[in-house]
Symmetry: C2
Subunit: 187 residues, 2 copies
Amino acid sequence: MKRITLFAVALAMLAVAFGTLASGQTDGDAAPIYGVKIPSGYRDWPLVSVARVGGPVNDIRAKLGNDVAIRAFRAGTNPFPDGTVIARLAWRQVTSDENNAVFRSAMLAQRLSPDVIQKVLSESSVAGPPTNVQFMIKDSKKYTSTGGWGFAQFTDGKPDGEAVHKTCFPCHAPAKDRDFVFTHYSR
Amino acid sequence: MKRITLFAVALAMLAVAFGTLASGQTDGDAAPIYGVKIPSGYRDWPLVSVARVGGPVNDIRAKLGNDVAIRAFRAGTNPFPDGTVIARLAWRQVTSDENNAVFRSAMLAQRLSPDVIQKVLSESSVAGPPTNVQFMIKDSKKYTSTGGWGFAQFTDGKPDGEAVHKTCFPCHAPAKDRDFVFTHYSR
């Protein structure tokens, strides 16, 4: 059998084996207002970009995207197509004594000044405990009053309350020109 | 045919169709010393964790892992199995005026003090231009003198020089107890 045929047949078999698992499966309870659930397997999605927010929020965060989202980010598609899902993971920023000991040694070997070394170490951090996970899901027919987006926030796998979810769209509204998405894709 | 059988057969067919593509394809020139090339498709790999390093380095970074790496991180496997590849992407930290304008509005609406608002904004950043990309590749037979790891750094897709690559293993040596890997997986 030719490779391409073999590949096509194998893919078709996988599709049957998995059913609709790849794109539509969700876990746990629905968040209020938008009814969004946690998309299965989101933790395996490719990275869109990273950022950090200062204290007292004090987090370091990553945006992941499903296949539809990643294709749209890379192509610069605006607005994002229905089926786009963007996940925002965040963790408390914590100091890593282990990393800093290594940075210090490396910088001493490079004969950097104590001031420079201190600056690097004081401004370095790693991801600590997770804070919460947020999702934006594009469905232009379902979420007509919020720019086509549904929003959700989960803490320890459980949806947060209605008050939190009321803040999502107003906060994203200033990014209307970019289909309410702040994050830029990082190459 | 039962689902599990169908799945197994489909996977076997995929393996034949793809040959060694999934784990072995690379792009571009080999880096010095270890001969490592850029693994194809690494930008789609799942996220291990994120971190930042202070000025003058001033970057925000993400570690991605291939399937072998991600499975090992999640299972706490030590040492990492042969075939593990960990990618470190990094970008200059830059201030996002667009994000900060939104943060400021949101914080003013919450009646936070100017001091708090200033602190959040001054400590917030996003990923700017990429700096370089690094890889760690586990091959315990090939890289016997460096803990079983090959290292590489690429800037704009081109391997950096030998001097840079001489610093990789000494810097990772303090993490010997954790198979020379500093990053912890973030759930």
